[in-house]
Each structure stands twice: as C-alpha cells, then as structure tokens.
Symmetry: C2
C-alpha cells in the first residue's frame, strides 16, 4: 500500500500548499492590504479554495482511500499513517457528500447575509436580517440531512468543528455546568463588588505592545517562526509550523486589552508551533479541534495570565511601565480588577465567570433553530429571556442582544459551543499539569514558563490533529470532557476574590 | 467564437489568480516572513507555479486558441479581444514548447547556481561558479534551439523579456549609442570634477522615508491601491491594478539612496496602477515588457527626479529636512552632486552617463557566450578588457567584476539589455511629452505632476501589454526604439553640468 500512501500524501501536500497560500492571502488582507486590493483578492481566494476543494474531492483521492482502507488493518491503528488515512477519510466524506452547487449556494447566501447582518446590527433592525437567517438555517438543515443517520440533526454541524463530538455529550456537560455557574454568579452578586476603574483609561499603545511582546517571549513564543501585527480583530494563523503569526489590537478605553489578547493568541500560536513537524503539509497538522485550540488560548490568557502567581512576577514591571496610572494600585487591587465579574450584554467583553453562560444560551438557541422547535421570529425574545435567566440582565435592544455576533450570519452553526468547551478543557489540563508540576505556581511567580510549555508540547501540541478531541482529552486526563474541574476552578478563584 | 473566448478568459482568470497569489507570497517572503517560514513557503510557491503552468499549458487552452484562430480574422486586429488572443497564443507557444522536465531541470540548476554564485562572489572565486555557468549556458542554448528557425540564437531569449524584439535590432541601437557614450565620458573626464561628499553621510532614515512618501504622493501614487515597505532589494509588485506595492531600502552611507529608489519603484507602480482595469485577470494586464517598464521607472527617477526643475521645488524642503547636512549646500551644488559622473565597477551604483555602458558590455558578452564564440573560462578577462575600453577602469577582482550580478546565475540571459533600452525609451517619451506639454519644466518646478502622469496614463499605462514594445514605442513616438534622443539628452544635461 506504500505507493498509494505516497500518492495520497502528494495530493494532500498540494492541498495543504493551496490552503497555506489562502492563509497568507487572508493574513495580508486583514493586516496590510490597501482597500483597492479587495476585488482581486476575493477572486484569488475563491480560485485557491476552489482548486483545493476540487483536488481534495477528486475521484483519485476516493480511489486511493478505498485502496488504503483494505490495507489499513495491517497498520497499528495508533500509527501516524493509520491516523492520517482515518482523518483524511473523515474529511473526504464530509467534503464529497455536499454537491458543489450547494457549497457555492451556501457561500453566496452567507456572504450576502454577513453584509445584511452588519447593516441590521448598525440599525438595530432584526427584521432586516431575519429572512437571511431563516434561509441559512434551511441550508444548514439540508446540509445535516446529507449525513443521516445521526443521533441528532445538530451532530453533523457540531462535527465540523469538533470531530466525533455529539450534541448529547455537549448538552449533558452544559446541563451540569449551567446551574453551577448561575448559582456562582448570584453568590458573587450578593457580595461587595470589585473596583476596576483604574483599568478603564488610556494606556500608551507602544508600551502595551512591548509589554505584551516581553510576556509572550517569556511564554516561549518563537519569533523566528512567527510575528505579531495589528488587525481589527485579533487572530492566529499558521502557514505551517515554521510560520505561525498572531495579531493584536488596542481598545482605547481598557488598559489590558492588547495584553490579554496577545496572551490569548499566543496560546493558539504555541499550539501550532508545537505540532510534530513530520505532519507538515498533511491534514494531521494544525490543532485537533476548535475546543482544543481554545483550551490552549484560554490556558495562557486566563489560567496563566489572570492568575495571582503570574502577576506576582509581572505586576512590578507593569506598574513601572505605567507609573502614572498604576503607581498607587497595589497587586491585590490590580489582580481583583482584572478578574472583576460583571454580567455584560456582550459575549466578547465578558469575564471567566459569565462567559460560558453566553455560550450556553447561544447553543440552546441554535439547537432549537436547527431542530425547528424555535422559529426565527421568536429568536430575539428567547434570547432576551435566557439572558435574564442566566445573567440577570435584559438587553435594551437587539444590537447588543441577538445581533451582536457574526457567527450565524456566516452560517457557523456548531461553532459557539467550542468556546465554552475550550474553557473546560483548559482546566482539565491544568489539574493534570499541577499534579505533574507541583511547584507550578512558584515557577509562574518567577516568570518561568518552560516546564509548563514543555508539558503542553509533549501532551497536547505534538499530536496535532491526530486524535479527535474527546480521545485526546481522555488520553491526557483519563476522562472525557468534563465540567467539574472548571466548576472547582471558578469556585476557588472567585471564592477568594469575593470572599464567598 | 464567443463561447470559446469566454472559456479561454475563464481559464486565464484562474491562471492570473494563481499568479497574483504567488506574488502575494513572494512579497511577504521579501518583507515580513520570519525565517522559519522558508521551507513551507518554497513548497507553496512551487505548487502554485506548477498549477498555473499546468492549467495554462493544458490541451484545452491549445484547442481554444486553435478554434479562436479561425475566427480572429473577423475581429478588428487592434481590438482588445484580438490582442488578447495574440498575446495568449504567443505565451502559450513559449510555454508549451519546453518539456516540463526541462523546466524543472532549469529551475533546479539555477537554484543551485545562485547559491554557488553567492559563495563564489563572497570568496572572489570565479572558478567555483564557472561549471554552473557553463551548464546554464548549455541549457539556454538548448532552450533557444526549441524555437528554430530564428535569425539569431539569442532571439528567443531576448523575446522572453522583450516580445518581438530581435538581437540585430538591439545590436544596431547599441552600436550607435556606445561610441557616443564613451566619447561623452572621456570629455567629462577631462573637465573639473563634481563634488558630492555632502551626500556621502548618514541621513536619518525616518526623515528619508517621509520625504520619499511626500514626493511620490505628489507624483500621483495612489496609496489606496498600494503601500510601501522595506526590503533588502527594492522592488515593485502588482496583485492587480488595485494593489500595487513598492519597497525601498536605506544605504547607510548615501543620503539619496532611499529617495531615488522610491521614485524609481513608484515609476513602475504608476504604470501598473494605470493599466486598463478591463484587462484585469488576463495576460493584457501588467506592463508591455521589461524595457517599457524600465522606461517608466527611469523617467520618474532620472528625467524627473534628477532634474533641476524638480529640485527647484523640492530642494528647499529637502534642505529644511536635513538642515545640519545641507544647510550650506546651495541648489546648484546639490543638483550637480546628485548627477556626478564617475565610472564605477558596479552597475547598480552607476550614474546616467555610464549605466548603459555596463549594460552593453554585459549584452555583448552574453551574446558571445550563447553563440559559443566566447568560452566561460575567458569571460573574466573579456569582462575586464571591455570595462577598460568603455569605462576606462579595470576591476581589481572578479567580485566587483564578472561576479557582481545574480542574473546569469539565475539563467536570466536576455534581461540585461532591457535596462538600457528602458533608458532610451524614457527619453523618447520625454521628447514627446515636452512637445505636448511645452511648460512641463514650469510644472515640475511648481511640484505639479498631474499633467505628466495623465500623459503617461493615456499614452503608455492604459495599454498594459496589449502591444509589443516596438509597436508601442512606434505608436507613441512615431519611431521604433532609437538611441538619438538619449544621446541628445546626455549631451545637453552633462554639457551644462560639466561645461563641455
């Protein structure tokens, strides 16, 4: 079967090259491209994606996979080769099941929907967006229908972001998590509140930039295999393990914005930089799933970057960097400030104690939309009711409510839960790390991250997408994705901050 | 024939998209890519080029061109459609005549040769490079042989850079030009020399950058359709007419370096920004040839940027920008300084009066190498003899002699003459512009370039590569490429500066 495997790899290499080229064009589009480049860039991106799709979904690939499926039993099922064939087969099935007219229609409909959504949000006009959302839901239902039999119609959508994960699994996890987070939030609400006014002012951007660079350099971000630029929305993008770039942005009215964003993106980037180089130009490169990726970004952003040990080391430097602002703010006041809990209408501005509630609300609604048990016309009301139930606040308008995120306009049903799952996984891993590195807090308090990074490299990063997310979490932690560690973490952390 | 034409355009659009993507990857490689990205970038570039080549040289394209060749007689031969078919046919012939093993072999041999050349130059070791050069010449001879019958074996090589131009044409032009430039140089040599010591010091880079930006903004460079970055070697690159980027660099010991480089690249970029947008994503986009492109860069760099009227406007600003350096240097001293004539060993450092001599020397040698009348082992001696004959100086070593340029190591036989032809064309155009805009000098002296740019847009830029270079020059100036205007220009300009 070696000749077939070699030929398959050759094609996968070409597809990976096209995908890397697409990523370079996309990075450039979001960082440096002048506005005049839009039209040609759109055409070039469409051509590259089309060629990659055509090449990957060719009959030749199907034939090679069929030939290889007979020989796969002779391989160790845990070998890179067997896994490469398995992952490729999974992607091939998903990509070939959809007629190309449908792929094109979905691209067309979501492109229009995104620009209508932007206007609808600006004008606080849900009715404008509603028919587009309705059409997208129909198309997603139709898409899911191509993958019957399934346990739940949402399964094929979820699988696009979390291979192998089932709707029932996620619901079971969230049903345990939700009441605990709601109860915690109520308990916090009854305690004296934290002051973070000192953060809500202008911090010099140049200094923020350099501070962030210093921090992630200590984390272990390899600047010979990456760089940081500015963009409207921060992101991480990999063109292979040798070139993994991040971006950041500055919010004029919040001092920590660029720093936490930089640490977050660095977490994603360390993952990509750490994938086994032997997987380059194959589907095994890159992260295992969105949730596993998010576990890495949130681990560095929150479990490291919002922890007291981290700031024991970095706060004196941060204070010296912004003496006029922080000269009279002591470490504990600062630490509490950056961890202030406050229900917000906006997901992207929410803290660790409330973030998952935003996600659970969205997941419940999108499952109901896809199931057909919720009509799009009733969506804003359902949104606002749940906001009140989970977070105790009611959006004054749809702009800061149901219209706030681009995901549904982009057709990305199945994406939202990965944010919350990433949070859960980050703490599951963290408990293992604390067991394996008993003096981890001391290391963080000395600004030392090399053992932490080495642990992640060895246990998570190196595997790329060889394993499905549940498999990987099981392999590392001994259990599947599980909300208990995260609940414990929140209770301990906020128990101390709010003296619960 | 419309369906065939539409299908041909569809394929050409895809090929253009792949080529634009290649250019974005290449721009990134030369500006921002971290060193770790090299390996994957090399693979991605090879895949994109390969796909573009395969798509363009497919039998389908050949069939479409054959079908269209029967209908082309019904088209106006000067119509965009007829020209598109003609240009495409020409490119198709050139690309399909070469077996793909030969394309790959040439890429391999020149890749190795370029790295050997870099070492040979560093070590002043021509013998190290010689066998590689010998092999490249053999491959170029073999390549030329695929295009028999020809008038001269160098014709097919020249045609790669200057479609339709013949070796005999270039030789005839240069045979007139050379003795005149040699005589001028001798006359200058006998006069008191110009002092430019004030330029040979460190000028603040930030200030140089901003001055250059101000100048080209006035030229009419459209920043909404372009940007400037830094790179080791300045270049211009277009991803379509809507995104045409330039780069610049700073030499530590010469004040004007970045400014003249910026004006030069801006000249290339104005050309690309001015091509008819209807030609986008087809072979009619981009410049007509290397020489026509160079005519645009040299026009803005030299005929504008080294002229007295230009500096009448800009010198007071330049002086205010660098008051410590230029406070006591008056306009005429400065003007003479930037136009100092001084035979140099190095082509890229040479002035307007000597530059073409460097080119003619190279052209004569490369024709002799390709003809087989000069053996590679005798090349350094032939180089040094001609340097003495034309420029009156003898290189002390091969490092600053025959090993100075990368072109031969890259297999770019046929490229050198385009630099000198560009100079000639720039002045042919300039004479027409002076006729059409009689108060051009006054405009330049007021910092006004809009009429000049409009003239170039209308007469040169808009046509893209619809016409072959000789055709285009004939159409605009009424004669083919001709050395007399350039000779007149040099005699007048340096007659004044050196009081000949």
């Amino acid at each position: 079967m070696q000749p077939q495997l070699d030929q398959l790899k050759k094609i996968l290499n070409e597809v990976a090259d096209l995908s890397a080229a697409t990523s370079v064009l996309s990075w450039d589009q979001q960082t440096y491209m002048p506005e005049g480049g839009s039209e040609d860039r759109g055409d070039a991106l469409a051509t590259l994606s089309g060629l990659a799709h055509t090449r990957f979904t060719s009959e030749e690939v199907g034939k090679l996979l069929d030939d290889l499926s007979t020989g796969i039993d002779q391989l160790n099922p845990d070998s890179d080769e067997a896994r490469l064939i398995k992952v490729t087969r999974h992607n091939y099935e998903k990509n070939t099941r959809v007629p190309s007219e449908k792929v094109a229609e979905f691209a067309r409909v979501t492109t229009v929907a995104q620009s209508v959504w932007a206007r609808a949000r600006a004008e606080n006009n849900y009715a404008l967006f509603m028919p587009h959302l309705k059409k997208i839901i129909e198309l997603r239902q139709e898409y899911a229908g191509l993958f019957t039999p399934y346990d739940h119609i949402y399964d094929p959508l979820l699988d696009d972001y979390e291979p192998g994960l089932k709707t029932a699994d996620v619901q079971a996890i969230f049903n345990v998590l939700r009441p605990q987070q709601v109860a915690l939030l109520q308990a916090i609400h009854e305690r004296p509140q934290v002051n973070d006014n000192f953060l809500r002012q202008k911090f010099d951007e140049e200094k923020q930039w350099h501070f962030g660079v210093d921090v992630i350099t200590r984390f272990g971000y390899d600047w010979k295999r990456g760089r940081q630029d500015r963009s409207a929305h921060p992101f991480t993008i990999a063109f292979g393990t040798g070139d993994v770039r991040i971006t950041t942005r500055f919010e004029p009215e919040y001092g920590g914005s660029a720093l936490f964003s930089t640490m977050h993106e660095c977490g994603h980037a360390l993952y990509e930089q750490g994938v086994n180089p032997a997987y380059r130009r194959t589907p095994l490169s890159g992260g295992a799933s969105m949730a596993i990726h998010e576990s890495q970004s949130r681990l560095w952003e929150n479990l490291v970057g919002r922890s007291l040990p981290f700031w024991k080391y970095f706060y004196p430097k941060f204070q010296r960097t912004f003496p006029e602002i922080l000269g009279n703010v002591d470490l504990m006041t600062f630490y509490k400030g950056i961890n202030k809990v406050e229900p917000s209408f906006i997901r992207t501005e929410s803290d660790e104690a409330t973030y998952n509630l935003h996600i659970m609300l969205r997941l419940e609604l999108e499952i109901a939309l896809i199931e057909g048990s919720l009509d799009v016309k009733d969506l804003p009301e359902a949104w606002n009711e749940r906001m009140h139930e989970y977070l105790g606040i009611t959006p004054p308008n749809n702009k800061v409510g149901v219209l706030q995120d681009v995901h549904w306009a982009g057709g990305m049903f199945g994406y939202f839960p990965t944010y919350a799952l990433g949070n859960l996984v980050s703490v599951q891993l963290w408990e293992c790390i604390q067991r394996d590195l008993p003096n981890l807090d001391d290391q963080l308090a000395r600004g030392e991250f090399s053992q932490l990074l080495a642990w992640l490299r060895k246990n998570v990063h190196v595997y790329g997408s060889k394993y499905e997310p549940q498999e990987l979490v099981q392999k590392i932690t001994g259990s599947r994705i599980n909300p208990q560690p995260y609940i414990r973490y929140l209770q301990t952390k906020y128990g101390e901050i709010y003296q619960l």
